[in-house]
Symmetry: C2
Subunit: 280 residues, 2 copies
DNA sequence: TTGCTCCTCACGTCACGTGAGGTGGC
DNA sequence: TTGCTCCTCACGTCACGTGAGGTGGC
């Protein structure tokens, strides 16, 4: 047996506000059992209570209404559970980022970072295995992990060894517009016609030339979430010397997730483009 | 020495997007060092980098811009740190609620709750110590804790003993509009002119009469975050019997935070107003 | 002169909340 | 008949993102 309820009763029974219930109707997340065609009054059914309870908990978990609609409309329990599980994974990653932000904030308020030296360096052109994609800062870590595995697999497939640490190119718009085409690469050889380029299996990995560059370099020690501190220090040093030029920023991953599980051991070189000193 | 930077350079150095920087300027969270009066070009100073880094981390912690402005403008480190600490407290509570939602969701998907019996009961009027305030569901737990301590203190002060479990009245609008005047009370005696009412110290606590009521009662066992499941079951039972009437819903806290640290041991009676059976 | 960087509106997003103004049902 | 409940716009909130359309500086 089921019984119809007006929106007020249904609200008290589910602890969802009347405004929220009307909104869930509008967007199709929870449609009333019947609607009076003349007055527009919504009537809910007691059998809709469990769905409302699920919605309330998913909203407490910050799941967007679009996804909630998908969860409720899932054809089977397996699909539904995997939708929920992947949301919980996202929340878990968010929590880790929150913890990193707390640590980073403490460190920041505790005082300025220990000064790391800036070095100007000439990087020669290399031939490299690369993966390229349009990415946002939020999606970059996951993308980088995937891309690195693709590169490592292609390297093994082609029976080659890396000629240096993996690196990445960051165009200005990646930071300024939070969206840009990143290039992750593993150098394989000095650039030049003498290099033999083995064919690659079908994969996102491609051969590319990473151009030479004159850069100011600063070593970032620690978690990647705090790399902005090194960007700040390095950018300041470059600006004060008035030697900056256009061009992508580079990072080289001397020690990264591929080498250790402890982010505090990470070592990243940040490279800012500067005037060629060769001309000086 | 400090140096001026255009918005693009400052964006790359701080990993704040250009759009975000313009917004922070608009709302006064981070005002450029100088603004060209003719072109409107913003110029930032290298000395503003640390503030930008703090802003980025506070935003990662979901702190609203208004509060960030207050943190940055705090007159001393003590004020600033306490603003941050109270925000971290809020986040901590939020995290606990998230964990509760995950557990609640699992329980919900695992199947229906074990059926608890519904009992119809006549509650006599009582004289009680009360605290009354307009509260939202989000603020209710903290309010309830405070209010309970005020009541307990007043009870001890007046050298009285409780004549029953503490309870609360919830008007319909508290659920329907997520805002309403709650009344937390501790019964002291049967209502009547014979009762001697001791004076109360200056505090939010007042003497009130809690009216009699005819209610359907269901026992909620477990965490208060899941009490909506009992509301759903009880409301369904009342609706199917078509015996519901207007009036505030009540809860009685048989076992609560005052008695145990384990929320699973909580026992709450939820009371839904119904027709008087005395007339039947 | 040509891109490039920067600028200012105006509007969109997401999940509702906040009134305003009005109507059916007991 | 009077409250009460419910209804539908229209607009606000928050922290930006997304174009559109335009201008200064090298």
């Amino acid at each position: 047996m089921t019984t119809l309820l007006n929106i007020g009763d249904f609200s008290r029974m589910t602890h969802l506000s009347v405004k929220a219930l009307r909104h869930y109707h509008d967007v199709g997340v929870l449609v009333p059992a019947t609607i009076d065609p003349f007055t527009g009054y919504r009537s809910y059914d007691t059998s809709q209570v469990p769905a409302a309870q699920v919605i309330r908990r998913l909203r407490d978990l910050n799941m967007p209404l679009d996804q909630i609609r998908a969860v409720l409309g899932a054809p089977d329990a397996g699909t539904r559970n995997s939708e929920i599980a992947s949301h919980l994974d996202r929340m878990e990653r968010q929590l880790q980022q929150t913890e990193a932000a707390v640590l980073g904030l403490r460190a920041l308020l505790a005082g300025p970072a220990s000064r790391t030296a800036v070095e100007v360096r000439t990087i020669p052109a290399v031939t490299a295995l690369t993966v390229r994609d349009v990415v946002t800062p939020a999606g970059a870590p996951a993308w980088g992990t995937d891309a690195y595995h693709s590169l490592a697999a292609a390297l093994a497939e082609a029976e080659l060894t890396a000629a240096g640490s993996p690196g990445a190119l960051f165009p200005a718009e990646f930071f300024e517009a939070e969206r840009g085409e990143l290039t992750l690469f593993i150098p394989v050889a000095q650039a030049g016609p003498a290099v033999q380029l083995p064919g690659l299996p079908a994969s996102p990995v491609q051969w590319s030339n990473i151009p030479a560059a004159e850069v100011a370099v600063m070593l970032h020690e620690g978690a990647p979430d705090d790399v902005d501190r090194t960007y700040g220090a390095l950018g300041t040093a470059v600006a004060e010397r008035a030697i900056g030029v256009d061009g992508p920023i580079r990072e080289y991953y001397l020690v990264s997730f591929a080498d250790t599980d402890d982010e505090r051991e990470y070592r990243t070189e940040v490279c800012w483009p500067v005037f060629s000193t060769a001309a000086a």
